[in-house]
Symmetry: D2
Subunit: 364 residues, 4 copies
């Protein structure tokens, strides 16, 4: 492990794009400068460490990036140095090239490495920690599904984008007496769906954590219609599943006269609602719009505090740890405890109960 003062560090971003990454990088560079630590940006995730593609970051390089989405360092969902595709005997195999990474760290005289990334990226970071690389983690998940921290940056921006979408769909739904379905991100955790549904005034919210019955959904929409509310808004997390799961979905696709219309779960819900209620139904898949755009004030602040906190961990030699938010403070937690720990919506939790008590149907 490292002894003596830290003079030079590397920073990389990995995994899916997320508003606030630039704010983390900016805070790292500015805080490091206050401790006379120089910062080297590593391009395109761990790939940049394998191929030794780096960029010396000065305060000038991070000027003006606070309000910008994306990452000036580039990011990727690929490139795990412990399982990296190489050609051996004419065949593509997965090899461990972590020693090459260590060499490059050494060659660049990097005393430590800050890794900003999601679960996959942080697992790799933990791997490097375990083979002796001084590593600090900064968590990044737009789905807000990490149990070790109260909140992650990017989530508030995605939530805002999804809520604005619901606001837009509302007026059209009402004018046309339609059912509008919005599919939002959330493969394993339904936080974006639940919170944007609450914020946007949805009538039905479908979550990965609560398998839904289509009969309940259709019943809710009919009940609204019977009370003179001739439109409904349904928010569906991409990972939501009907009770019975994949087999039910598969059966529906096989029975469908037009499987092309059935892309994700949003379309499936849309088709079934239209069949079940006889009401015009339209589906919107929000997709990548949720990962882009200028971060909200909240996300810029949280990201800035994370970046600042990462340098503090460095200075305290708390390697192998990850910054986290324990409201109202930035604290830290070992990567080994944090990675892989999913924070899901509790089906009997307070927020879900609130949703149901104000009349939102969760399909159960």
């Amino acid at each position: 492990m490292l002894s003596g003062k830290i003079k030079k560090i590397g920073v990389l971003t990995g995994g899916g794009d997320c508003p606030g990454l630039n704010a983390v990088i900016r805070a790292i560079v500015k805080t490091a400068a206050s401790y006379s630590i120089s910062v080297v940006g590593i391009l395109d995730g761990f790939g940049g460490l394998i191929h030794n593609q780096t960029w010396k970051l000065t305060e000038k390089d991070v000027m003006g990036i606070l309000p910008r989405g994306g990452t000036i360092l580039g990011t990727t969902n690929r490139d795990d140095p412990f399982n990296y595709p190489v050609i051996q005997d004419g065949k593509k195999v997965l090899a461990d090239v972590s020693s090459q990474v260590k060499n490059n760290l050494h060659q660049n005289e990097l005393d430590a490495l800050i890794v900003i990334g999601g679960d996959g990226t942080l697992k790799i970071a933990l791997g490097f920690h375990q083979i002796g690389v001084p590593v600090i983690g900064v968590p990044k998940t737009i789905d807000n599904d990490l149990s070790a921290t109260d909140q992650t940056f990017g989530f508030d921006t995605a939530l805002t984008t999804a809520t604005e979408a619901i606001d837009k769909l509302h007026t059209t739904a009402e004018s046309h007496h339609r059912v509008m379905v919005l599919e939002v991100m959330g493969r394993y955790a339904g936080w974006i769906a639940l919170q944007s549904g609450l914020a946007g005034g949805a009538d039905v919210i479908l979550l990965p954590e609560i398998p839904f019955q289509m009969s309940k959904v259709i019943g809710k929409i009919k009940e609204r219609r019977d009370h003179g509310k001739k439109f409904s808004i349904i928010v569906v997390a991409e990972g939501a599943m009907p009770l019975g799961g994949h087999m039910v979905v598969q059966k529906h696709i096989e029975d469908s006269p037009d499987p092309v219309r059935l892309g994700g779960i949003g379309n499936l819900v849309g088709v079934q609602v239209e069949e079940g209620t006889g009401m015009e139904t339209r589906v919107t898949v929000l997709g990548h719009l949720q990962r882009g755009g200028s971060p909200t004030a909240f996300d810029r602040i949280l990201a800035t505090r994370y970046g600042n906190g990462a340098i503090h961990l460095l200075n305290s030699k708390k390697f192998g740890e990850m910054v986290c938010l324990r409201t109202p403070d930035i604290k830290s937690v070992p990567l080994s405890e944090a990675v892989g720990e999913l924070r899901q919506v509790s089906p009997e939790g307070q927020m879900v109960k609130t949703a149901e008590q104000i009349g939102i149907c969760l399909g159960r």
Copy 2:
């Protein structure tokens, strides 16, 4: 034709939802009030005149609706009184129920009718004018594809929504070195695609008016990559077509191992770009989000001026006419000349030339 002072009028909205409809209604009610004309709202397009569903509109009813999308009167793409489905001898046939509409107008003591709607709705309005109903038209097309007016309300809002979407996709495209495809509205005219592409800094824009060659699109993206620009943004109008048209699309679908991925033209372009460049490509279909939301300042003003102008046409007994914008004035034009006259993007026009000169590829 009507003689004497107009005392009471009806107003209806028809066709697809469009930001600014409420602003038109508000201006009609307020201007009418200044001439002591009372206004009756007719619900859900011409359907409300067939079934006599009306709502007496006071100034209080239109308070606060200026910034709201949608229409308080409801709207629909169906219900043509000249071709209305009725059951005859146990069979569904299309009948002319226009006399029923005239009866209802008479019964409600409506001296005239203001019809706010798109091409289809205005054609029906023209039909009523031709059978002696005093009618005034207010044009509505979110695609801005009506030749009789410089601009229609709703377009600027849709353009803004599309441009914001491109802004959001930009950062993610850049961070991930991806190609991002955005499919926007525009079945017969590519105004939203062309203008949002210009405003958002797209690299490729595909329009219904200019059949595109995929080879040119792919060439452009490769050329950018060769110059170190590792991402590209493509904006596609939903009505864009490759050179060769439907047959080329059909062939591609037949050849595809996964036809489910190929929904609209946006997906088709996305798949082919990924195949042709080897770069990660993601597609977003903006869809109904373009019809919703609070109208922009421009749209609120234009809609207000249209509503005001419609009452002036009424007072001048210019029945059978439609308000239009001839910058900077609101004027009018006979419905008979206006309906069906599509305003398309000129493939050799100034705006298209500008796009190409600043380096945007139009696929030709």
Copy 3:
């Protein structure tokens, strides 16, 4: 104290306007409906209880109000029933009219009262609790300066408005090589200034909690200029004070050749910066814009949870208590402990330290 099931309650909003009030009202009405409790809205704060101006709230009345700023019940900073101005013997005196309020509560058959308001309003609520009226409090402070809760609704919206303002000032400051001063809300607590300054990338932030030295502020701006950064952004809380306090301000006003230019503290800072640096300086006072607009997703959710939680407190007969956020849960705290407990920015706290470490000057 009340025995038996609660059947009918009153709700009022008091104090300054705050985005999210309507969301609280909506959640109260909807949650109450799920328990078959009917809700009566009381107009314009406690004034409505004195003059018995009420409005029976149905679910229809709260339809569509979730995204709207303001309060459908009206609000006011005046009208304390314990100190209410009445004419006695031709003179205006402050009288205790609380018995009149109790009578009106009785007459309207209200089993309990939910009071949504700031510190002043909640003190009155506590007064009624102490004379036997079953009261539940919902805290509202746009300044986020209440120690009993992690956050209050409205703050995130105000923060967003202030951050957007800084974003706008940034480009102009940079283009013109100017110093831009933005005065934001925060009389006793500088949360809006501190957080918007962090989120907007301010160079100087002045808070009520940290008396500032103008020499430090001017030094910072000169230092930036010397490093080639020819512009600066200063965010000032309206309650910020120079070291030495009011006397220093007063002296400056007396010495000024043009006291008209010196309105609030923002203008004072602007004039002194211009004098001290010779750089063009412009001041913007954000004012009431911070209280308006559609609440952010965060504020809509928090407000909804507060409204829902208030009904739970009612059902548990936890009168005299106030809902609060203890992340991630909605809990409660006695009004007697909550009112008057100011939550200020800690001059040595983590967020302030972070600001200084990334190079922001706090004037000390």
Copy 4:
């Protein structure tokens, strides 16, 4: 005058900041590149030509600036080379340093100069044209008060900012039963006030072109109150004047017990409305926020077309001309005809009449 092909040009921005300047610069650089013309940016207006501060602009330099407010070249309201302050015999005098500018143009091998600026800047451009410098003008006025063009970029963004401000003030006005006064830009022309007032649903709009009577304003607000509308919104252009003009203002200031409260015309109106109606009144001065921020889609497109059009004028050797919008085309007009020609709101024009007919009071 220049003969032969243009190879290298200069571009500068002058006058007040305006959203869209960067979009013009970007379009100039990109279009010029398509004609193999290289572009040199001149820093900080004509000052950069006096002091020979330039920046060779490549396509890379203009990447990503389309959505950004401000100008990468810097701008200023000072520095007229025909009247430039120099020290002569120990005294500051205004001298003609235009020959120095010509020398610098020559030294930089600039074949022509594109000047983007407001009326003052374009007058200087015209001066250079008249002494033989090949100049092209691009008009810039956020107030939209130039008669030679249908619209200028920046106006739509300022209008949007002002309209959003009115939207925010609306809810607070309504909740508190207050009168809210918003002072917006417009010294000689009231376009921002008139159009934002129309778009935001103002009740009173005061313009430089229509001297107002305070009695009419107060009458309007009282009339609204009598009809149960307990709030009002007043939009005031900074250049609005009461009937009688400066003397009336001066008298009011002299009579006032608190002249500090009376800054601009907005405050004066606010104080008088409060006195005249007895209603709580609050004033917001929007100020510099109107010049900042990301340009709207409309402004980005218009600015792009202007930049593109400027290169076309260059190529056609139409020196001494200025690009302009004649809907829907970009055309040109001699600078000598364009400068100094103010486009004001016509007091009897269509838009003003519309405002009055929907019930807006213009103070007359």
